[in-house]
């Protein structure tokens, strides 16, 4: 999930206070606030969808607590409901979450101590956790503050999903079309990432790939669409590089 956040990191020059557990906890809680406002309601939306899918409510807690990757979970729910083969689930997870690979370039994992701490810190390296630690200031945070920050965000998401699943059972069955939230989520995220670069050929290439996949491989839209797109990108990279060198 990509949620716009205010970077508190840059605006909080920490006075030289004693590094107590309480200080780290309080700072982590403050840092997590802005993304919490986005993560919690999004979790609720996911939980409502789980409840409406007919699965028991606690699967919302299991999905959100263990997979802990917002946009993948919305897709995942649809995939498991149609008992999609595990290989397709793995491919989808790979492609949807591939962006996390790049978080390693700047996330301050070196501040986190111990094997268990590092293991949890990479496990819980969600978009939100990355967003609040992407600032220069976070590179000097105590490891404990980073870990607690991640725990808080994890709790907002899983707590939101559980709340939504429990509330969702209350929504009457006559209410149809809640699953549009997934379409809206991806359309909105597409607009937001487009805004950061204003590169028109890439979304057009992706749209063409997806539509070709939709009509030529209707049963394998996701796989075929991503395969065409990821093959098209290096091709376009080579073409535009040729143009650049010729110019």
């Amino acid at each position: 999930m990509v949620t716009p956040t205010d970077d508190h990191a840059g605006t909080a020059p920490s006075p030289p206070a004693p590094r107590t557990l309480r200080t780290d906890l309080r700072r982590a809680f403050e840092d997590s606030g802005s993304v919490g406002l986005g993560a919690y309601p999004m979790g609720v939306a996911f939980g409502v969808l789980v409840a409406h899918s007919g699965l028991p409510w606690w699967w919302a807690s299991v999905f959100s607590g263990f997979i802990y990757a917002g946009s993948l979970e919305f897709l995942f729910l649809g995939l498991v409901l149609s008992t999609t083969p595990l290989a397709s689930i793995a491919t989808t997870a790979f492609l949807v979450n591939f962006r996390h690979v790049f978080y390693a370039l700047s996330f301050p994992l070196h501040r986190v101590r111990g094997r268990v701490g590092k293991a949890y810190s990479t496990f819980a390296l969600s978009d939100e956790a990355y967003a609040v630690t992407a600032g220069e200031a976070a590179r000097s945070y105590p490891g404990r503050r980073i870990l607690w920050l991640q725990v808080f965000i994890h709790c907002y998401w899983a707590g939101g999903a559980t709340t939504g699943a429990l509330l969702g059972s209350v929504i009457p069955d006559g209410v149809k079309g809640l699953d549009f939230a997934v379409t809206a989520l991806f359309a909105v995220l597409a607009i937001d990432v487009f805004r950061t670069r204003r590169d028109i050929p890439t979304p057009l290439l992706a749209l063409a790939c997806a539509l070709v996949a939709r009509f030529v491989f209707p049963g394998q839209l996701l796989l075929a669409g991503f395969a065409l797109f990821t093959a098209g990108l290096p091709a376009r990279y080579l073409l535009t590089r040729e143009e650049r060198t010729r110019a």
């Binding site: 999004m42 689930i89 793995a90 990432v193 979304p203």
Partner: protein
Amino acid sequence: MPDTGYLIAAVATAVAVTWALRALPFALLAPLRSSPLVVYLRKVMPVGVMVVLTVYTLRDFDPHLPDRAWPTALALAFTVVLHLWRRNVLLSIAGGTVVHVLLASAVFG
């Protein structure tokens, strides 16, 4: 309805892939950091992935079924316009979904 064994295997698969993508690059990515293709992919992939996923969620869109097609088309247009105007992720998703539910349940339902 999928059975519990399948669901557990599916969750485990998604967790393994996601965690690997988050953890392994700390060890593996350092030498590729300056590769121009990696830099290029990092910049252009996200928007394309989101577009493919949007189309995927619309895969059952069928203009021959107006009772279902109209709510989807109108709600999508509403979501996009609302987002371009207010730039608020939660507001756009909630607004689009409410419009879709109203159209699908009450107007065309």
